[in-house]
């Protein structure tokens, strides 16, 4: 799939010119290239990108940056200014000395394909490109500015986050205990199935939260699935109801569990703001406090349900379930 996407992208980048083998050479000078290196990348791509595109172990042709950083300016492949000393040229000519004596891998080398006119760039042109290769861009080198800046919490982090928010002060760093169920021992995420049947329910909940359980070859769920969101919500509801009913001290710093509106509005607002910061590690604005008050606490009907739903909503908040 990734490779198909890469090929599709290439053809899109190449301005839809490559329609057949016969037309490869005619597309030798893509106007959409960003620079000379990019033009070379596009012209080599029909031969090379199927194995070296997006998602490959060596994605030389995934982008111009990849082409330059992984191939054009890596001396293991290209010696700038010296095509005869460049292992890339040797491989294209079928006389490489490494694990891959020939590229592309298979029957015909690039040189063979070139001789039959089945490449978009000739070997001589590759040699010329290496001879005149400009120096690399010295500015490049940091992390991608477009990269993601958040991730979801894993199951053990989520459980610990809930437990800390609700007042537990000694969560485990390794195998977190799930909320106590019938006095059973803590669930180990790598408990094997079919060994302790009593643990099945909690084990399933742990997996629904996204795992992992490495012993069973279940890696951490990279994002949230419907089932993991469902599990978060159910876990939050149960934990919050239990904590509110137990009148957990850390939940009611500024207002009592039974405080009602309008008499105790100031106290309740203060407690909502306190809980927001306790759960999300961000102080709320007045408008946010208004929203939590009106949309959640008031609409719940009773103070008890209000605090339970507020607690549950905060746990479901994107700022809570992400890193």
């Amino acid at each position: 799939m990734k490779r198909a996407l890469a090929v599709t992208l290439f053809f899109a980048l190449a301005c839809d010119r490559l329609e057949s083998v016969d037309s490869i050479r005619s597309a030798a000078d893509p106007e959409c290239a960003q620079n000379e290196n990019d033009a070379v990348r596009m012209r080599l791509a029909p031969t090379c990108a199927p194995c070296h595109g997006v998602g490959a172990s060596r994605p030389f042709f995934a982008s111009l940056v990849a082409f330059e950083d992984l191939l054009a300016y890596d001396a293991r492949y290209v010696v700038r200014g010296d095509p005869d000393a460049s292992p890339l040229v040797a491989m294209l000519e079928g006389r490489g000395e490494g694990a891959y004596p020939q590229m592309p891998l298979g029957v015909d080398s690039f040189a063979d394909l070139d001789a039959r006119g089945q490449t978009a760039m000739t070997l001589d042109e590759v040699r010329d490109w290496i001879t005149n290769l400009p120096p690399p861009d010295p500015a490049r080198g940091g992390p991608s500015a477009d990269a993601a800046t958040i991730r979801r919490l894993s199951a053990d982090e989520l459980i610990n986050a809930i437990e800390v928010a609700l007042g537990r002060d000694d969560p485990s760093a390794g195998v977190p205990p799930l909320l106590a169920v019938d006095g059973l021992p803590p669930l180990a995420p790598d408990s094997p199935t079919s060994v302790d049947y009593r643990d099945a329910e909690r084990r399933q909940l742990y997996l629904m939260l996204g795992g992992p359980t490495y012993l069973q070859q279940r890696m951490p769920e990279p994002g949230f699935s419907p089932s993991s969101l469902l599990a978060v919500t159910q876990l939050a509801q149960g934990a919050c109801a239990s904590a509110v009913d137990a009148n957990r001290e850390v939940l009611f710093v500024h207002a009592s569990r039974t405080a009602t509106l309008p008499d105790a509005e100031a106290e309740i607002r203060a407690n909502v703001a306190y809980l927001h910061e306790r759960f999300l590690h961000v102080a709320p604005t007045e408008a946010e406090v208004d929203a939590w008050m009106n949309d959640v606490f008031v609409s719940a009907g009773t103070p008890r349900d209000g605090w339970v739903q507020l607690c549950t909503g905060l746990i479901r908040d994107p700022l809570f379930v992400t890193f």
């Binding site: 994605p59 982008s63 419907p226």
Partner: protein, 613 residues
Amino acid sequence: MPFSRALLLLAAAHAFACSGSIGGPTPDRPGMPGVDATVCYAADAGPPPVVERDPELDASRRLRRVAFVLHGRPPLDAERDALSAATTDAAREAVIDDAIESGLASPDFYERMVDFGHEWLRNGSFLVGAQGDGYWGNMSTHLGTCAADSANPGAYFIYAESNARGRDQCAVAGAPTRDVEPWWAPGTTVTLLGDAANDAPTVTIDGAVHDCGIANEGYFNMANATGCGCGPNAAWCYPGGGLNLGHDREGSQRRDMWDEPARLFAHLAWHDRPLSDLVLGNYTVGTNRVWAWYLRFGRQTGLFAELDADTTWFRPEAGDLPRDPLHTTPDDPNAWRELVVERMAPQLLSLSGGERSADPSRTLRWDPRTDGGPAPGLPYSGVLTMPGPNSSFPRERPRAARFLEIFACREFDPPPPEAHFPALGADIATGGSCMHCHVQMDPVAMAFRRWIFMGYYVPRPHLADLESLPIPEDLYEPSRRYPNSHWYRAGADRWAQNWLPNTVMTPITEDELAVHPRALFVDTIPPEYTILGQHADGTMGPLAFAKILVSSGEMDRCAVRRLYARIVGRPLDPASEARYVDALTARFVEGGRRVRPFVAHLLRSDELRRGVR
């Protein structure tokens, strides 16, 4: 694309939150313009929630990230209070810096590294070669315990089929017993009952002398020869039956053997050792159960009876060996403490005179085509020679593929459909579409052929072609099922089919094979092979590959990518961030390949300050 994933995550969270039936409503978030919790965007395909990049997270959110990375939890109240009390940016930075330092010094950090070790050094359970109808991976005489209301409550009897000499003794008052300090519970005393109480090193049956230090196959349980006992400190026995459930649970040997690679990784991180020791080292870490595994593996050969004289191996306090921070009581048998493997299993060679070493100059040259006799052993090479991974990846090619994936971040994808390959011949590394992967895999795989797991009823671990396990002279006969059940189960048929002379994975000639069948076990990577751009140095076995992993820089680059993904929370893109990977790798190597300072660097990096709001 990654940013889109963040959007999707938030969209999914909100879409679920507004379902109404679960958990109640979520309020509008004024800080996120355009988000109205009363509208189900996912349902009506409306606009996704808008999130803004936050180039500088609040200190409280950064402290939260640090705590999750190092402790697996958000900051505790005291840690938050310390941050709240800081009134200047500099003071807040100092609080976060302290949190990083104290977190890295906390045993929690070790635990998080164990968890990361499981994720990175992924292997299955110690199953293949250890458990069939019963667990035989301990290579020991299995012991059961007498009932509390028996004549010998709590005494250990041999769990084999002969009840008269084992279980039935529980009811016999005055039955022979022997009290010992057992290896699994140092500092305590247990009673061995019946045959288990015998302490003779050998027994003679029908004129044949049997070494009591060798456990034989049985039905569900293993047992040494009839009349044999458990040896010094019950070192020849294991407290449990082969059919007992729970062999995967914490506190069981099979679980520990699965855990061993991750524990070694965490050990290296905790003790500031070079991460390259993971593959170059001649040492591991283990609980008493892991030490017992290696001891049994050594003793089971019948070559090293002198191992019985070691009466300190099971005493964790002896030698004050480096250990994990979670088991600080001196005599805790569950402590993961360091072991130069050769001490317990002399066939797994240290090449350093028994001293801990990860020196890449450790070398053993052994060519079964020209060197006479059985192999002298196998150089121990960290994770690459651990029984757990070699059992979990049960053949040489899966071992090569998995270790290339784990340590060199290689991926094995099928070739593109339009690719043309030479016709498939005898060697899948040089012809057919198979060569797309095997050209890279087979030169490595050839070094991983000596671990075999075989047995009559339940397979057990062996190193092939040692003196204790010579290869039959007529082993290699293509197109015929090998009649000996042991060698058949070891895969001799598969060797005949797949270990073909004149191939990349078996670079021997027919003539060499005709001279001696042990040539089939050639596991010295030829110097002319190129792996990861490097040539092997002629060391036998996986140690040569370990040296290549390190000298090529591929393991460093891969480790940096894995660590980065774990700490920062996103994978580095090798296509668009290659120079950044190189820069981070250079820093990692300059820092002695130590994990802890590299984690500290990442936690203080600008990357960890970026978020969304």
